[in-house]
């Protein structure tokens, strides 16, 4: 686990990219980006709220919870979801989860423990906002 003294400045530097104008351009509503949580809603005909818990960033990938717009965890996904939006249940959380490199629930899933976060964590585009942009894009594509 990364100490807060290390993780917090990295988190704050990452989420600083998500300025209000940037969020507006990306059609995102930012509820909070206060350490260690980035909480955003993908504004869409089928909105999705994503809560990134980034304690231990970037030693560990963020834990990402899929939520309804009121902030309650999703217990089921819309019909037809597959791929990175996995209906689960995840063996740790018991909930649907993000099955994509960059999500803690992916890397700690028994099916992906050989695909280690370490190999991605300093790659361009795999910062917190980069992971968010991938999820936003995929959600909008799947629910279009």
């Amino acid at each position: 686990m990364a100490h807060e003294a290390i993780a917090r400045p990295l988190f704050e530097a990452d989420v600083a990219a998500l300025t209000d104008p940037a969020a507006e351009r990306l059609q995102l509503v930012v509820h909070t980006k206060q350490w260690p949580v980035l909480d955003v809603t993908v504004a869409h005909s089928k909105p999705l709220r994503l809560r990134f818990t980034c304690d231990s960033w970037n030693t560990l990938a963020p834990s990402i919870q899929l939520q309804a717009i009121d902030g309650t965890p999703l217990r089921a996904l819309p019909p037809g979801m597959s791929g990175i939006f996995n209906p689960g249940p995840h063996p740790t959380t018991g909930l649907p989860f993000v099955c994509m490199r960059g999500s803690r629930e992916y890397h700690n899933h028994p099916g992906h423990q050989n695909d280690r976060w370490d190999q991605y964590r300093n790659v361009d585009g795999m910062n917190i906002v980069g992971i968010l942009m991938q999820l936003k894009d995929e959600w909008q594509k799947k629910t279009a």
Binding site: A16, A17, L18, T19, D20, P21, A22, R25, L26, S82, G83, I84, N86, C99, M100, R101, G102, S103, Y106, H109, G111, H112, V123, D124, G125, M126, N127, V129, G130, M133, Q134, L135, D137, E138, Q140, K141, A144
Partner: protein
């Protein structure tokens, strides 16, 4: 139609990446309709010190663009807001 003039029509381009908007929060970079999209992405890459964007995707309003085409060839004009980020990967648990 004079395609030469069409190619010289200016447009304003913003590119939003995981490191934030280019050129900045509020402005647009001038480009031309006959210019390859990649030429603007190269500026972003330099400005944001990106090293490997080989598997990144270029999108406008959810539509994937070919960065080797011109703005005109991708039917883009006037004001364009591009999202540029790594392609999603994973799935299948």
């Amino acid at each position: 139609m004079n395609h030469g003039n069409e190619n010289h029509k200016p447009l304003g381009v913003a590119v939003i990446t995981p490191l934030g908007p280019f050129p900045n929060d509020d402005d647009y970079r001038r480009a031309y309709e006959g210019e390859r999209i990649q030429s603007v992405l190269d500026l972003v890459k330099e400005a944001q010190h990106l090293t490997d964007t080989s598997d990144w995707v270029v999108k406008v309003d959810g539509r994937t663009l070919d960065p080797n085409k011109t703005f005109s060839e991708e039917h883009l004009s006037c004001v364009v807001e591009i999202e540029w980020h790594k392609a999603e990967g994973g799935g299948g648990s």
